[in-house]
């Protein structure tokens, strides 16, 4: 038994966060929502979530800057981060990956596939952790 997996959703739009939370909780995840980088930092001082879903257009500090910050933090660098954006614009994906995101999803989320996509990112990160362990 490995325990519930905690997802940190950083999203300032309440409707979006409610929908994503409902979809993920139905699949057994526990979702913590933060509406800004500052709020997320409060939670990240307490526990390390299994994955972070990051709206890249946050008020205040934007999601890509915050991603870079987390990727350079000792305690937070290994948390997989998935970028969420309303922009269907070219270049967003590249910018997200360049900032250190493991994946990218565009909003509005597809409620039928969203949880499976999150699960896939988690499994990918578990695999890479195992590989790292085997190599050392």
């Amino acid at each position: 038994m490995s325990g519930v997996e905690i997802v940190l959703l950083i999203e300032d739009n309440e409707a979006n966060s409610m929908l994503a939370t409902a979809v993920l909780e139905r699949e057994g995840f526990h979702v913590e929502v933060a509406s800004s980088a500052a709020e997320a930092n409060r939670l990240l001082r307490a526990v390390i979530p299994a994955v972070i879903l990051m709206d890249i257009q946050l008020p205040g500090e934007d999601g890509l800057t915050f991603t870079r910050e987390l990727k350079s933090g000792r305690a937070t660098s290994r948390i997989p981060i998935v970028a969420l954006t309303a922009h269907a614009m070219g270049g967003d994906r590249e910018r997200a990956l360049e900032a250190g995101c493991q994946g990218y999803m565009s909003k509005p989320i597809d409620t039928r596939t969203f949880a499976a996509q999150v699960r896939q990112v988690l499994e990918g990160s578990h695999r890479s952790t195992e590989e790292e362990g085997a190599a050392s």
Partner: protein, 156 residues
Amino acid sequence: MTSASRRILVVDDDPASNELVAYFLKSLGYNVAIAADGSRALNMDLDDDIELVILDVHLPEYDGDEVLLMLRERQISRPVKVLALTADESDEVRESMQSAGADGFLTKPVDLDVLRDEVSRLMPGESQVEGALHRRMRERGVTSRSVDPRSALRRF
């Protein structure tokens, strides 16, 4: 330990930490009590059935090592294990908690995989009762990284 859940007390003044650690432990099937400071923790009936105390080092009023010393001075009918938790990674803090009698030490932010392993180490024996949440996850076919408690325990 077949019918009742095994009990853990989490003592932390940070509500985010308290709630998430408690939530995670509940998902593993433990029965979890929460206290926001040392006085509240010491007022709880530890003789009762608490097997493990997860104790934040920096607490209002009394620090973790003081709470721990008071806890250790009590005549408790059976041993209670203590896992210290802190964002302060200095040797000084670690030593003060160890000399006060902590059985384990974890740093914040808490890596939940490490927490789970430490809790199994400090509360050995048959695995805990399956929690309602985990049962629901299993029923829904949610796969989570499974750990065989026996092989996990063999590591210690």
